[in-house]
């Protein structure tokens, strides 16, 4: 699933625009992927690094493979200054792109990657992740209780939660005077929104939202429920401008679109820069996701990877990164350092009762085929 194809808004600042283009370029480069070895996707299991080296200071270069907007030059520079380790960062645009590259053997240089929740589960199943040596992690106790033993990786044996967010609706509050509060708004106001709204070009998010609006789970596998969701999405389709995970910014900011379904990482920065645009999490619940830091089994320089994880677990570092890049941190102590303005932003840190209604997207096994078939039908009917 091309989840969060590029999680940036292009019109904010020059740097975010540049990062955005990197993301999209990576997305498009993914199309040309054809580099796979004879044993399709078989991963090499490399013996975990010798733990006796733990005492020696890490050095050399750390190669990181991450989303476009989780790291910036400043973070890398701070890390290099603190540890003497050089950082090289490559970005990907979707979990699937990352997985494909790792499976094809193109990711052997990476010591650290940032998969999302469901991808952590999947990669553990594929034996691609190193079991973390808990004694080498400093500051994991500062992570909020909610993330101490997440469903996707109980007890955080293979991953360290880094950020989290939701999916919601970003809308033009000047035109839409009755603001959307829930998914049903899209169907109820399809005349006003006609060809002025976009949904994510992301099967699981968009089908999930429709399923959610019908009272089903984001991770439904029952063919009857999926069929019902497909029909309901078809109903909405004549009013859709497009399915877009990126490229909606221009049209939304110019007023040509009134509403876009977006990931919070992209929506919230727009709403902070321009009060006309408001981000809302549908009250019946949307999807909530967590991105993590993991060490692949093929990783060189494991010591440097541990250094990076511990560096990012520091509340001060986490707080500063969040204030630059606007994502929600699971680090409880970092939250106490955050500016009141960000902390009070209910979109960034939604209230517990709303969060309780949100669901994490989980692997659906064989139902993937059905999701994909319905998606192709939706997009070409």
């Amino acid at each position: 699933m091309p989840r969060r194809l590029s999680r940036n808004s292009s019109l904010l600042t020059n740097t975010s625009r540049r990062r955005f283009l990197q993301g999209s370029a990576a997305a498009l480069a993914g199309v040309g992927l054809s580099n796979c070895r004879r044993t399709i996707g078989e991963t090499e299991t490399v013996a975990p690094a010798d733990d006796t080296t733990a005492a020696a200071p890490a050095s050399g270069t750390l190669q990181i493979y991450t989303w476009a907007d989780y790291t910036d030059d400043e973070l890398a520079a701070q890390f290099t200054e603190a540890t003497g380790i050089d950082v090289k960062i490559d970005v990907y645009d979707s979990n699937e792109t990352m997985l494909a590259k790792m499976q094809a053997g193109g990711g052997e240089n990476y010591s650290l990657i940032y998969p999302s929740d469901y991808m952590v589960t999947e990669m553990i199943g594929l034996d691609m992740l190193t079991e973390l040596d808990q004694s080498r992690l400093v500051g994991l106790d500062k992570i909020r209780d909610k993330w101490q033993s997440p469903v996707y990786d109980p007890d955080n044996t293979h991953s360290v939660p880094y950020s989290w967010g939701t999916t919601g609706l970003l809308y033009n509050s000047e035109v839409l005077t009755t603001p959307p509060t829930d998914w049903n708004y899209l169907w109820d106001n399809s005349d006003v929104l006609s060809r002025k709204m976009t949904l994510l070009d992301d099967v699981r998010e968009t089908m999930g939202a429709v399923l959610s609006s019908l009272g089903y789970s984001y991770n439904a596998t029952d063919p009857a429920e999926l069929e019902e969701a497909y029909q309901r999405l078809l109903e909405l389709k004549p009013s859709l401008a497009s399915f877009k995970s990126f490229g909606w910014q221009d049209e939304l900011l110019s007023g040509d679109l009134l509403l876009s379904m977006v990931y919070s990482v992209e929506g919230i920065p727009v709403s902070l820069e321009n009060p006309t645009f408001k981000y809302v999490i549908p009250e019946s619940g949307s999807s909530v996701w967590t991105d993590t830091m993991v060490i692949p089994t093929s990783a060189p320089n494991v010591d440097a990877a541990y250094e990076w994880i511990n560096f990012n677990l520091q509340p001060k570092v986490s707080q500063e990164t969040v204030e630059r890049l606007f994502f929600a941190t699971p680090n409880g102590e970092a939250m106490t350092l955050l500016s009141k303005e960000l902390l009070d932003n209910q979109n960034l840190f939604p209230p517990e009762d709303l969060l309780a209604k949100c669901e994490g997207i989980a692997p659906v096994g064989e139902a993937n085929v059905l999701y994909d078939e319905y998606w192709t039908k939706v997009k070409s009917a």
Partner: protein, 305 residues
Amino acid sequence: MDKGIRPIAALTKAPTLTTVGRMLKSGIRPLGLLGPAGIWLLLLVVLPTLLITELSLVPGLRPGQPIESYGFLNYLRILEPTYLQVLQRSATFATGTTLLCLGFGFPVAYWLALMAPKRWRNLLLVLFILPLWTSSLLRTYAWITLLRSSGVINLVLTTLGLPPQGLMNTPWAVYVGMTYSFLPYMVLILYASLERLDLQLLEAAADLGANPRLAFWRVTVPQTLPGIAAGCLLVFVTSLGDFVVPTLLGGPNSMTISQLIYNQFLGVARNWGFGSSLSMVLILMVSMAIALLLKYGDRNPDIYS
């Protein structure tokens, strides 16, 4: 004994050496010339294609799975109406784009090759190719700005008192974007072809009483037919596999074969088997277009001599 044999050996040996040398030389020279490109093609075209062919024959192959059995199920699945519709849409987009490029490109190339002042020609050509130096992604984003409801095009239209058009997120936007993207290729190829046009033949046609229109259709067009065919082929092939334009400009009904293939490899299904069979179909469609060009495109190659 030795002394007696040596000259004979030398005599018999000498011609053999030169023959072998000649043979080696005649063998090495083409090898040296073709080798680098040959290895390139072998490693990056032939082998991957063979690999895709193999994967396409494994029904429902997902990465990480062992290959268990072979079959044609992936190909049969393409025949389902949903997927045929996607294929048909891609072919329609590509055909339409090709015709539009030919329609817009021919007059431009004609003017550049035959009517533009000679000393400006190269500069004009460079100007025409200039957009190709920027990323196609950027150029497509620029079209969003132009095409959207309150965009530049509608601003011009409403200023002129004309009704605004809802072009963005429609198939028309795809045609506009793709035609723009691939027009320079068409113009370049047509220009190369028109530049070599034998003007004496046109004079002869005029002498024999043909009016300019007749001369154009009976002399100019047949002479540039190979160029037209090559240009059309290039545009057709590139637009058939285009991903950026339909994704960004196309609206909710714009799934093309390249997006479908993307979804099979990196989307939710991760069905590499089906994705490979779709890729094979794309390769086949392109090969057919090239075969048609080889058969009909250059019927009369001696016109250049």
